[in-house]
């Protein structure tokens, strides 16, 4: 099926609609469409199959420049701070990360720094039990920075490999809450050199263009080292990730594919792009 001397209008409209439906956003979708038309002019493909193969390679390459594994401090505690807006899957992602690390023989300690939301500590505590790790927690309403301080101290004393810090969901528009996050980061750094070594922003795959603003805002408070895209087992495609990478140079490190502790995978750009067009 050749496309003749110019790209079929229907094919292009169809492709653009796919990109937009995947939450790529109008500006990013337009730039992708321009590069597709450019590649066609340069005869880089000749038929619809070729177009899609070219496109998938192009998109995957946009996500692959900065793929890095999880930080790992030699002979010391690696501190992972998990942040994000309300309900994105932070606590559950921590359970999954814990399961992944313990299955690789690492010793993990959890810090219950969401001292605000109803039963947040209980939720993480249950996950600690299920994954077989210890947890540092205070009573509800305690200062999250105080919990972080105690947890960092305990992590060093108990010689754990990873300290994972759970924080309360917070909208990036709430300045006092973003300040609180900075304070947690500072306290961790005060107790453990160069901590936090990983700052992972958990983004809900169903989120639209606001994800770009979230990434920018959180990055300003606590420099991000990675993203976790949760709930990719749904029908949302998280195409907003392309817009994010234009603004914040932070790689996706993991994806969440369900509600159980096993439902976490390391990010693979080609697999992610393939799933976008399924």
């Amino acid at each position: 099926l050749s496309m003749g001397r110019k790209l079929d209008e229907d094919l292009l409209d169809d492709l653009e609609e796919k990109l937009l439906t995947a939450d790529m956003g109008p500006t990013t979708a337009m730039s992708v469409m321009d590069s597709v038309k450019d590649a066609y002019k340069k005869k880089e493909f000749e038929d619809p199959e070729g177009l899609y193969e070219h496109l998938k390679r192009d998109l995957a390459s946009r996500l692959q420049q900065n793929v890095t594994p999880l930080a790992s401090v030699e002979g010391g505690v690696t501190v992972i701070l998990v942040v994000g807006v309300n309900g994105t899957g932070k606590t559950t992602s921590i359970a999954k990360l814990t399961h992944l690390l313990t299955s690789e023989g690492k010793k993990v300690l959890l810090a219950a720094c969401d001292t605000f939301r109803a039963a947040a500590v209980e939720q993480l505590d249950l996950w600690a039990t299920r994954t077989g790790v210890e947890i540092v927690k205070h009573s509800s309403g305690a200062d999250p920075a105080a919990v972080a301080f105690d947890a960092a101290e305990a992590a060093v004393a108990r010689k754990v490999d990873y300290l994972i810090v759970d924080t309360a969901g917070r909208l990036h528009t709430k300045e006092n809450l973003m300040k609180e996050l900075e304070k947690i980061g500072k306290v961790l750094r005060g107790k453990i050199d160069t901590a936090p070594h990983e700052v992972l922003l958990v983004l809900d795959a169903t989120t639209g263009q606001n994800a770009i603003i979230q990434a920018q805002a959180f990055n300003e408070s606590v420099p991000l080292t990675g993203l976790i895209l949760s709930k990719l087992d749904g029908t949302a495609k998280a195409g907003v990730i392309f817009g994010i990478q234009n603004e914040v140079d932070v790689p996706v490190k993991f994806i969440g594919l369900g509600e159980k502790q096993e439902d976490l995978e390391r990010f693979s750009a080609p697999q992610f792009v393939e799933a976008m067009f399924e």
Binding site: P26, R117, A119, E122, Q123, H172, D204, D233, G234, T235
Partner: protein
């Protein structure tokens, strides 16, 4: 802003004389861009643009001194009309107690909204009762019990491995026995593509016959809003929608997508994490927010 972008587009056209119908269509590309940036679903955007283009041409914006202002007004009016009416009403008739079921995707704000609804109902002189029907999320029952305790609202729960539909049925019976007049069912978050869990939701509805079935949806949801809303609606016949986390800066285009695709009214909005952060839905405010 949209007005500025339209102005820019039209000043370019105006340089060559009067605006034409084609110029209006070109200007509509700015409206399309604004709506897509606001997360309105692309198919909904396409239909919407057709409608407002016809209206703009029909209302003679071509001859207007400030066509961009007239077009923005048409867009605003059309958005308001499509997302209306003003919310805030609950169907209290036909059941004793009135049963309200909260459903939606994971993390959308259902449990918190149950508590907010209780506080709202108490203000309206009702005696609400909570049923903890999320039997799968760790500490979900604890979460509802803490919220209930803070508000002085009784919470019905079962911790011995029952099934959600039965728990809900027994919860409603308990509310009847205690003479409570509204029961709110907090269900587990679930994917609209999870066949078994969507059937469970239908079973809860069949066993409790709710007067109100709300889809609780996060205001920052993108294009996927139509997929999930359509499926929840076709399974449950929703009575309304509650949009949460509007205290953020998401434009909230999902509101238009959901209303268009389900036809169901958006009745309430969540505007914070406190139980008092709960308002009736106002289509005019939502329209301005979407336009940015």
């Amino acid at each position: 802003s949209l007005t500025k972008n339209l102005q820019g587009a039209f000043s370019f056209f105006r340089k060559r004389g009067h605006l034409t119908e084609d110029n209006i269509k070109e200007g509509m590309r700015e409206v399309r861009k604004a709506l897509l940036e606001a997360d309105v679903n692309i198919k909904v955007v396409k239909d919407f643009i057709k409608k407002v283009t016809e209206r703009a041409i029909g209302e003679d914006t071509l001859k207007s001194v400030r066509p961009e202002q007239q077009i923005v007004k048409i867009v605003q009016d059309e958005l308001e009309e499509l997302m209306g009416p003003v919310g805030g009403y609950i169907n209290f008739s036909g059941g004793s107690p009135t049963v309200i079921m909260m459903a939606g995707l994971q993390g959308s704000g259902k449990t918190t909204t149950c508590a907010k609804m209780c506080k709202y109902l108490v203000k309206k002189g009702k005696k609400p009762f909570l049923v903890a029907a999320d039997l799968q999320r760790p500490a979900a029952i604890d979460q509802l019990e803490v919220l209930g305790k803070d508000l002085g609202i009784p919470v019905y729960s079962e911790r011995d491995g029952g099934r959600a539909p039965k728990v809900c049925q027994r919860g409603v019976k308990e509310a009847q026995r205690l003479g409570m007049d509204v029961v709110i069912l907090d269900t587990a978050g679930r994917l609209h593509v999870d066949e078994a869990l969507m059937e469970e939701l239908q079973e809860i509805r069949d066993k409790t016959k709710p007067q109100e079935t709300f889809l609780v949806c996060d205001a920052m949801t993108g294009q996927d809003a139509v997929q999930s809303a359509r499926e929840f609606n076709s399974r449950l016949e929703l009575s309304g929608v509650i949009l949460t986390k509007l205290d953020g800066d998401a434009r909230g285009g999902a509101a238009l997508s959901i209303k268009t695709v389900t036809g169901k009214p958006i009745k309430f909005v969540g505007v914070g994490e406190k139980t008092s952060d709960f308002d009736e839905f106002h289509p005019d405010r939502m329209a301005s927010r979407i336009l940015g």
